[in-house]
């Protein structure tokens, strides 16, 4: 077209010096600079290395078969299911921050919700891979979907594993919808600031022609509120359904009614730990210290104390109920958990999950980014061990002593676990580089300047 240059030109409009413009500039620049900080390159190289490890180990698994893993009767659910529950748990904090804190009108969530949502989606991707690859014939997981087929068979909807399929895939879909919808106004900002044709085209397509009309904002806010209201029970349902995989079985140590709330509390705990683990380096290296403040870290650390205590309560209550039930298999399972062959894993879990968050009672600890990062990582380790303890100790010592065993993972198990972190961090670092890392429109809406004179009209 002859007059294409008439379309608002590929130069930044005159920059304002008000609070809103500063927010826009701070966050947009992260995705606009020619070169991200050196730390990003180092982290990306490491993440790509781990990702290739993941591809190699999964490729070899497909080639050689499930025998390369340590899964063996009686512990048929080894690392793959531990990793699945671990990652799906991580994925809970994002939607919790986005939806529940939104409904509770917690304004501070706006600084962290976008990358917590991104974290959720990448964690759910990691989680979704594990059940698929550990089924022995990983090209057949579509058997679990209700698809008409030549076998004239349908999936069994009374099975918790089938509920799991629907819960996890619904959760992944709704998380992506929620994440994408939140980004539409920010994509429009990126589009309007674009200085090259391709950036303008790419962000223009994903922004869908959003121009910030108040009539559009009206419907947008309604839709966002509804999504938050839908996602809130969803986030609670997903880990409850995951816990049904265990709780509806008869294995001592699994067959308990405390599992759904216990799993949900653990998921929020582990998810928040991952959020602080990611938030500290992100604010450090991308210059977001004025948006993700010490105050935010402190609030998240307080959530960690609360959920850590909930998880500790659940550990204690499991012992109490085992004793109170008078069922000798239950009693044995829990005594064996703490003092049997897996005692090392149990006490690692207790130290990481129950003891370490107590350090956050000290204000100096919970306001220190370094301590926040370290304790967050320790809790991540602890939450992984929690799933290991639940799965492996219960299966390794069930009713019949003649079928007892001891689970020993192979190097391929470790490679796949490490590789899944590579997948997660690769996606996360790409997100940091190319997408709006903080919800700009929401941060602006909660900025004092947005309300300063709103009352006197």
């Amino acid at each position: 077209m002859a007059a294409a240059t008439d379309i608002n030109p590929f130069v930044n409009p005159p920059a304002g010096d008000n609070a809103f413009a500063r927010i826009t500039d701070n966050i947009s620049r992260i995705a606009e600079v020619d070169k991200p900080p050196r730390a990003w390159y180092i982290a990306f190289a490491a993440a790509l290395g781990l990702l290739s490890l993941f591809l190699v180990s999964v490729g070899y698994l497909f080639w050689e078969g499930i025998g390369i893993y340590g899964n063996m009767m009686p512990v048929a659910w080894g690392f793959p299911i531990v990793n699945f529950v671990f990652w799906i748990g991580i994925g809970h904090a994002g939607t919790l921050i986005s939806a529940i804190l939104f409904l509770l009108r917690q304004g501070w969530r706006t600084a962290i919700n976008r990358f917590a949502e991104a974290m959720t989606i990448f964690a759910v991707i990691c989680a979704g891979i594990f059940p698929g690859i550990h089924i022995g014939r990983p090209w057949l997981p579509y058997y679990m979907m209700p698809i008409p087929n030549q076998m004239e068979m349908w999936p069994q909807f009374r099975s918790p594993l089938e509920w799991d399929i629907f819960a996890v895939s619904t959760y992944a879909t709704i998380s992506i919808v929620f994440w994408y919808m939140g980004m539409i106004p920010d994509f429009a900002t990126f589009r309007d600031r674009a200085t090259t044709f391709w950036r303008r085209l790419a962000y223009g397509i994903v922004a869908m022609g959003w121009r910030g009309s108040s009539r559009q904002w009206h419907r947008y806010e309604r839709a966002y509120l509804l999504l938050a209201a839908l996602a809130t029970p969803l986030v609670l349902s997903v880990h409850s359904v995951v816990s049904f995989d265990f709780a509806t079985s008869q294995i001592p140590g699994w067959h308990t009614t405390i599992f759904p709330p216990y799993f949900v509390a653990g998921a929020i705990f582990g998810g928040f730990a991952m959020v602080v683990t990611l938030a500290v380096p992100a604010r450090q290296f991308f210059g977001l210290k004025r948006i993700i403040t010490i105050k935010h870290l402190e609030l998240m650390n307080k959530v960690l104390i609360a959920t850590g205590l909930l998880v500790g309560y659940a550990y204690g209550m499991e012992f109490f109920v085992a004793w109170y039930s008078g069922n000798e298999y239950e009693v044995f399972t829990f005594v064996n958990r703490a003092f049997g062959p897996y005692a090392w894993a149990y006490w690692t879990m207790i130290t990481c999950n129950v003891v370490s968050p107590q350090l956050h009672w000290f204000k100096s600890v919970r306001t220190s980014p370094l301590a926040t990062l370290l304790i967050g990582m320790v809790i991540n380790v602890g939450m992984w061990f929690e799933r290991f303890v639940i799965i492996c100790t219960s299966l390794a010592r069930d009713f019949l002593p003649s079928s007892w065993g001891y689970y020993i993972p192979t190097m391929w198990d470790f490679m796949t676990l490490a590789g899944s972190f590579g997948l997660f961090f690769t996606l996360f670092l790409l997100f940091c580089r190319y997408l709006p890392m903080v919800a700009m429109a929401e941060v602006k809406a909660f900025h004092p300047a947005a309300h300063a004179h709103a009352e006197h009209h």
Partner: protein, 409 residues
């Protein structure tokens, strides 16, 4: 700037789209919105980088219909879940598990919940986009340079020329009375085409056609026969490192993959050395005595009577005379092929060795089937004991028996 200069074919001076005012603060746009609303304009809008609190009221925006659409979608998700689970597990493919009901609310609630949320959530996004007339690739405001800040830090108000109350002079005066940072005229967009690019249309058509090919092939394969074996992408279930029954196995000299048991191998519990007890034979002939395992006492007799009533009486009759209900019915039907059951009280059977009787029950005779697989060894001997009692009772005179047994003194 004037309307009549517009020439649709070539880009040039375009018609007026409307008037745009820019404001520095949310408060500014709120105050201006109220004025425009009160002035009675209908085709106007504001553009802000974030949802300004109170702007709905200031502009007089009516509540959107979106929540009702989402509710409808949620209910249809719920209905889909109920229909899916009922159809698959209760109607089309029943599979009984531990006697649990095929359809029950508790077991089917999780899927109902998930599909409700799934349908409602996707609809919330789609309905938001559709009601907002998105995606919208181009807009006359894209040609206004200052408008790029609408997604950054500035607040804009646009009154369209299509508004019935619009008048360039008076509307401009009205806008300038709302303390804007700037007021600007917006031209119609006669630069960008309002037709979809041909590449895009062809691309969608071609991709749609290609996407139907796998489904068409699958449909053809399901309604046609073929001599080719099925193609398996992954062959590990077809080619397994093992020998199947009836296939040649080079490991063994005889070439069999199914190995025969060693000679004289007996399965656990199948060793039946006691010929008298298990086969009714002694020293090469039929045993004339009961084996020592069978205790000749009342309990055995009662057991024999009961078993006889179950297995023998239907054909041989209550008294063993060959007149059971089955035999009577068969004679009634007169079909001509019926071999009447033997009268067990005949003299030659009364003389027959118990071992031979045992063999007859165990292996059958003529058209009497073998009862060995159905009646345990002990019970077969008990039946013979009862049969002996029947035979003896039949042959004896009633005289000399006590009255209670039907004797006449």
């Amino acid at each position: 700037m004037s309307h009549d200069e517009k020439t649709p074919e070539t880009p040039g001076p375009a018609a007026l789209h409307g008037l745009l005012a820019e404001y520095d603060t949310p408060a500014g746009i709120l105050a201006a919105s109220q004025k425009i609303r009160d002035a009675g304009y209908s085709r106007w809008d504001t553009f802000t980088p974030f949802p300004v609190h109170g702007i709905d009221k200031a502009m007089g925006i009516k509540m959107t219909v979106l929540p009702w659409i989402v509710l409808g979608a949620g209910l249809s998700g719920l209905a889909t879940a109920i229909a899916l689970q009922w159809y698959t597990n209760t109607f089309d493919y029943k599979w009984l598990i531990s006697g649990k009901p095929f359809f029950s609310i508790p077991a089917n609630v999780p899927i109902m919940f998930e599909l409700t949320v799934l349908f409602a959530g996707i609809t919330a996004l789609v309905a938001m986009l559709v009601l907002n007339n998105l995606p919208l690739p181009s807009h006359p405001l894209d040609f206004v340079r200052r408008f790029a800040r609408s997604t950054d830090d500035r607040f804009f108000l646009l009154i369209e020329a299509a508004d019935p109350k619009f008048d360039e002079e008076s509307t401009k005066a009205l806008l300038e009375g709302t303390h804007p940072a700037a007021v600007e005229t917006v031209k119609e967009d006669n630069v960008t085409s309002n037709k979809l690019p041909k590449v895009l249309i062809y691309g969608v058509v071609i991709l749609t056609v290609i996407a139907t090919v796998p489904f068409a092939l699958a449909a053809k394969a399901r309604h046609a026969t073929s001599k080719q074996t099925r193609i398996h992408a992954v062959l590990d279930m077809d080619a397994q490192p093992k020998y199947k029954a009836q296939r040649r196995n080079p490991v063994y000299a005889d070439g069999r993959s199914t190995r025969l048991p060693d000679p004289d191998t007996v399965a656990v519990g199948d060793l039946r050395e006691d010929s008298h007890f298990y086969r009714g034979k002694m020293n090469g002939g039929w045993a004339r005595t009961f084996p020592p395992q069978v205790r000749l006492e009342d309990a055995t007799m009662k057991r024999g009577q009961e078993r006889f009533g179950i297995y023998c009486q239907p054909c041989h009759g209550v008294g063993g005379e060959g007149n059971g209900m089955v035999a009577k019915r068969a004679e009634e039907l007169q079909q001509g092929t019926w071999v009447p059951p033997t009268n067990l009280t005949q003299d030659y059977l009364r003389q027959m060795a118990v071992g031979e009787l045992f063999n007859t029950i165990t292996n059958g005779i003529r058209n009497m089937p073998a009862y060995g697989p159905q009646i345990t060894t002990e019970d077969r001997w008990a039946i013979i004991m009862y049969l002996r009692a029947l035979q003896r009772g039949h042959a004896s005179k009633t005289a000399g028996l006590p009255p209670a047994t039907g004797g006449t003194n």
